[in-house]
Symmetry: C2
Subunit: 712 residues, 2 copies
Amino acid sequence: MPNVLDRILNPRTVAVVGASNDPEKRGYRAIKTLLADEYQGEIIPINPREKKILDLDCYARLPDAPQEIDLALICTPARTVPDVVRQCGEKGVKGALLLAGGFSEASEEGRKLEEETAAIARQYGVRLIGPNTNGMFSARYACNAIGWFDIPRGPIAVLSNSANVALSLVTEAQIHRYIGYSTMLSVGNQADLQFHDYLECLGEDPDTRAIISYVEGFKDGRAYLKAARKVTPVKPIVMYKAGRTDEGKGAAKSHSGSLAGDYTVASGVLRQAGVVLVTQSDHLYPVAEALAILPPLPTRRVAILSEGGGPITIAAEALAERGMVLAQLTQDTQQKLKGIVPNASALSNPVDAGGGTDPRAEYYGLCGRAILEDPNVDALLMVGYFGGYTTRYGESVAETENRYCVEVADMMKQYGKPIVVQTHYADFRTKALDILRKAGVPFYREIEIAVQCLASLADYTAAKRRLSAAEAGPRAKTEPAAAQIVQRVHEAARTSLLETEARELLACYGVAIPPALLARTAEDAEDVVAKLGAGPLALKIVSKDVLHKSEAGGVKLNVAGAEAVKHAIGDITASVKRHDPAADVAGVLAAPMAEKGVEVIVGVTRDPQFGPVLMFGLGGVFVEVIRDVVFRALPLSQADVEEMLRELRYKAMLEGARGLPAVDKSALVDLMLKVAALAAAHPEIVEIDLNPVIAHASGYTIADARMILAGA
Amino acid sequence: MPNVLDRILNPRTVAVVGASNDPEKRGYRAIKTLLADEYQGEIIPINPREKKILDLDCYARLPDAPQEIDLALICTPARTVPDVVRQCGEKGVKGALLLAGGFSEASEEGRKLEEETAAIARQYGVRLIGPNTNGMFSARYACNAIGWFDIPRGPIAVLSNSANVALSLVTEAQIHRYIGYSTMLSVGNQADLQFHDYLECLGEDPDTRAIISYVEGFKDGRAYLKAARKVTPVKPIVMYKAGRTDEGKGAAKSHSGSLAGDYTVASGVLRQAGVVLVTQSDHLYPVAEALAILPPLPTRRVAILSEGGGPITIAAEALAERGMVLAQLTQDTQQKLKGIVPNASALSNPVDAGGGTDPRAEYYGLCGRAILEDPNVDALLMVGYFGGYTTRYGESVAETENRYCVEVADMMKQYGKPIVVQTHYADFRTKALDILRKAGVPFYREIEIAVQCLASLADYTAAKRRLSAAEAGPRAKTEPAAAQIVQRVHEAARTSLLETEARELLACYGVAIPPALLARTAEDAEDVVAKLGAGPLALKIVSKDVLHKSEAGGVKLNVAGAEAVKHAIGDITASVKRHDPAADVAGVLAAPMAEKGVEVIVGVTRDPQFGPVLMFGLGGVFVEVIRDVVFRALPLSQADVEEMLRELRYKAMLEGARGLPAVDKSALVDLMLKVAALAAAHPEIVEIDLNPVIAHASGYTIADARMILAGA
């Protein structure tokens, strides 16, 4: 059964409300455009003052039209819209596309008008596109309700917060002449239908093989993630998500009223859902094209083949910077290559078949095949002249070049390994490029873009594998002992747990908690040393009234020996009392100092767009200055958590930097999964902050734990 | 007087050695190409077996030709080249372009052949281009000795380690049809003429307004820096320097035999010399074009003008990420804008004149002028449809659009502020874009590239200002006391200075050295405490035989009180003796612990390509894991040093991160200049390593100082 929106996005009948015989009016242009693009369905003009518009029968009101109406294209001003939507409801119209601006993006009054409109739509079950949208194009029945001409048709869908970004994609496709669009939609204010609704529909759309999205902000981020997780295992989503900088956030807010939110959170949870992010707008189209047509790339091992060293060097650099690996060619392959090009400049990867100035299009085929047969190679990047030999050297080489273009495409199919061509002639109209294009081998002018396509393909292939392997985790299970702790905190009318409580709670979920003892008075020092050893110990105040322990003089580290512990307990208590005479002090928590290691942070917070997220990051300067932190939405899988570790910018810190041994990463993964389980079992805990956790070769030590309950 | 190379790069007579009547031969094609491109000079074929080639008189040997010869284009195989170059010498030929490969890039034998050739050339004063080059194109007399057709002519010169990179620039210019080339040269093996020689000549070339360079490595980096410092105040150099990754370094080595060297060093010293670096190859052409034609950009304050919010958001993001600033429009400007576009979506910067779907080309002119008049604005970025209105909306808007294209160009001249246009229609052949092109307003399809052009323009303008303001520093002056210290070390047959010596030497050049005392025995503890206070003190072994002090147990920190100091001196000495019983111990250096601050590193090293360089970086994890370090070549100016501080990735650390006050940056600048003066006065000191230096609010404390003499 097709998605309910399918009929709205690919309508068989379109009513144009506000249709007009005045060529200056939108209601005239809308019909004109539909006709010009040879819309395959029926157009029904609505205007109380006309009988015919552009030779079509016109009706006064929507309910007057005899036909079933899939989509009403509403060209009338904002103030009329609630009434028109009511007419849609009365008529049983499936969807209404609201072009007018002047709603929530414009004023408080407009916001109310939008709410009113949405309420009427809900009442009648009419779905709304917009308002404040430039419209929609869908190729299946050639429904051009967006007003741009010559939109190339093909397997890419576009969902955008901006019509201009979509238009830019149209001109790009027109120039590149490679791939075109199945659906283009500018979402407008999303009064009813949102990004995730359209996404779900396009996920099931047989005409769509990849989805490009330009997103300034989500109104319902969790719904988007859910939809994306369904779609990405089937087809790629390539997204530019705005908001990496304050300036970008400000412009997005001003443009679409979107709250872009924290980009680090957004990029983490979107990647988790399999979305491929780009940070340059000119990557949207090529990456989507490549992902739509190329076979998967299960590793990051690429071979480079060229006849010129400069572009090879640039390609090698760009690959390495995107985490790709130059595949190690076998001796056998190198022998084969030597047989083909005895005087090649380089036979190991990168392969440079150059050295002269002669046309050598055949080498791309012959060497290409030898390389693709190599078991160490999973993708091939060709850089240089290929596709332009004939332009460069004349018609005499055309036959060879064209033949090898066919051959290269065949090889890609035969070996199931992706091939991307970078050619200096990509923007020229050559027969060779036409052959590549028709055979499904993508080509680009820019080396860095060709490389980005391969890197994104590897990311996407990995995400697909991860998402299809991910089992639904066990259902959140609340430990009774943990529930009791929370209950006690509630009863004490507190919203933050004492550190002792947080530690107990973590222990309920199997988190390793170092031994510790709560000393109520200095006299407990003997007992502390008897049970925890003579030190060095860390001593910390435990008090519901002390939030910043260090500032209150509530922390002492490296305290050794019973006498020193006794003094320290006394000092801490006295200092805290000086700092806040009314503070209710539960005692002083003593614990052995952690083994030397790397400070990390594990936490759970609530993102305004995406809800509960797990945070993992490096501590110290890494969190405070560099913000080397990674987020994933809850619930999450073990593969998600492992990817968080790999995604740290300075993950070298975990591998044994600065003379320390490598940390036990599996212990960290285990900790993060347990914290995630705890958060799932206790939705009332809105914030968890284990900071720092000392990660070391034999596990981890949680040096401080904080938890906050809802209502704080 | 023109540069000596000018006559070689723009020859009036070209002899083609190895000329041929066989159309398959290089010596035929070379002449054919010169003729086809209507070379304005005289072509002289040289071939002992022919009388006429392509209707031109042919001579057996070079000396037989009656004419004066500017350039000999040598098409014969490698083994014949020494003899041909000798003929060039006998004839008094000014330059020889050696196309053949098979020299140092190919084999040891080839390397010897290249040396032999170069020696002959030196003997006769013949300058060599290549060998192993694809040739050269120069526009002045239409000398096409590179074999590509339809090279667009214009004010950009190209110097490249790779012919293919240059060819890619040709195809790019052919498609973009904006700006073309004055000279293109693939430098080959640089047996004689090197990057810096060509650069100097092009710096003086009246036909050249900007120089694009693709460089894998320099044979003489210091000569290049010297040439660049002469050229960049006059015209921009835009460079892709290979070697950011190991993979790029490997490919460069394999391609051109170049040692790419440390990219951080190269990028620092090249920027210091005013070179504009790009890290994407597709930025070379647009950035060079923009820098060639735009007025300067003395600040980073940019205004954005558009009629659509999505591209505005992307532009704002890209600007911010490149350190540009959204200019604050005055109230007056905003009022003016409101008068022009009453229902604009946004009137503060970015200015969004949109809100409808109507053509509004006039807004770009009217709003553009209001914005350029604003004293807070120094550059204008237009994003969206401009240049494509007629394509989008039809001929009815052509007159308006074209008029405002003229108007925009006039505004740029009138206000002397750069304007860059990003248009979705950049790749379309529109009349409007032709007008912009001819009037000198650059336009691009990609938002990020338009932004990069502005960012690079601001960088270049700042570099020009810095270079023209830089005074030649005082001549290196050696302090006699310092010379004596070095002399003592020499006499002791040591190559590394003791820390006490390094400290004295620094003090000779005015570097602030904290009080310290060398304790020879534990009995000196009383004296130490009497003179330095009771602590806490840092104690360190001083011994020529102990390189790694901490490992030898030779360091104790935070030692307080005479008794503890006494014990510590004893412990240190004993520990070092255990570690190396033969170690010659001078004593234990005691100094007060440094004020709390930020660890930085100041050093001097010798780069294999660029010679002595000053290094500055953040210490701790920042140097060990992040490598947040910056380099500049010696000698350097105060402005250079100030820029080093600004160039740190995590310069926030100096501004008061992590609860510390901001450090005294002028003290750091002073320290770096003094270390540079010391290094200049003592070329025999090949390495200086002040690590760490604790930078704090009231200056700096050098916690450790190391110096190494040549011969180590």
